[in-house]
């Protein structure tokens, strides 16, 4: 049961360029989508979220886009910095179904100086 899927296990970009991380989902009942960043030996750190009624949310260098008809969301990081190198998890939550997060498998981002 893969309700949230990240098809790219890894992504490598040059410092200063844009990083685009993608996520697909199957459950149309999700209310919020969230992106988390994870360094080794640390817990996931919340980055940015978007409500299912929006199509874009921006916070500094991070922008999340939601395409509900395609059941697809993406995280854009611009400009990318070496410190952004980490594993990025897409997650979704249905507020009427227990409030638990359903995670994607993660994408490892490497930003090269």
């Amino acid at each position: 049961d893969q309700q949230v899927k990240q098809n790219s296990p890894s992504l490598s970009v040059q410092e200063g360029r844009i990083s685009i991380l993608n996520c697909d989902y199957t459950n149309s009942m999700f209310d919020y989508f969230l992106w988390y960043k994870k360094y080794p030996a640390e817990g996931p750190t919340f980055l940015i979220s978007i409500s299912s009624i929006k199509d874009k949310n921006e916070d500094g260098r991070f922008t999340v886009f939601l395409n509900k008809s395609a059941k697809h969301l993406s995280l854009h990081i611009v400009p990318s910095q070496p410190g952004d190198s980490a594993v990025y998890f897409c997650a979704a939550i249905s507020l009427n179904a227990g409030n638990m997060l359903t995670f994607g498998g993660g994408t490892r981002l490497m930003v090269k100086p």
């Binding site: 817990g43 227990g98 638990m100 993660g106």
Partner: protein, 114 residues
Amino acid sequence: EPEVTQTPSHQVTQMGQEVILRCVPISNHLYFYWYRQILGQKVEFLVSFYNNEISEKSEIFDDQFSVERPDGSNFTLKIRSTKLEDSAMYFCASRSGTGAPGYTFGSGTRLTVV
């Protein structure tokens, strides 16, 4: 910035032994969670806890697992008789219950069952 604190950071235990993983959630948060991540796999939901009771649990959270909030600050996960396949990173998380549902996760406990 408020943190979710987990102890220990690493626990090694023999198969069949009981373990207790401890968490101190953010003080004004109302919802508490345990997740786990087996090496190389997804982060998986185990259980959610609200108003001093379990509100949701996954299929993973069988009779060998239990949670408690014994004193209003700690939130514990107990595994009664550990199995090799319980080896994983266990993450505690909490959230306030208002506004956008951004969870705050602890740094995790690495459980190794030998």
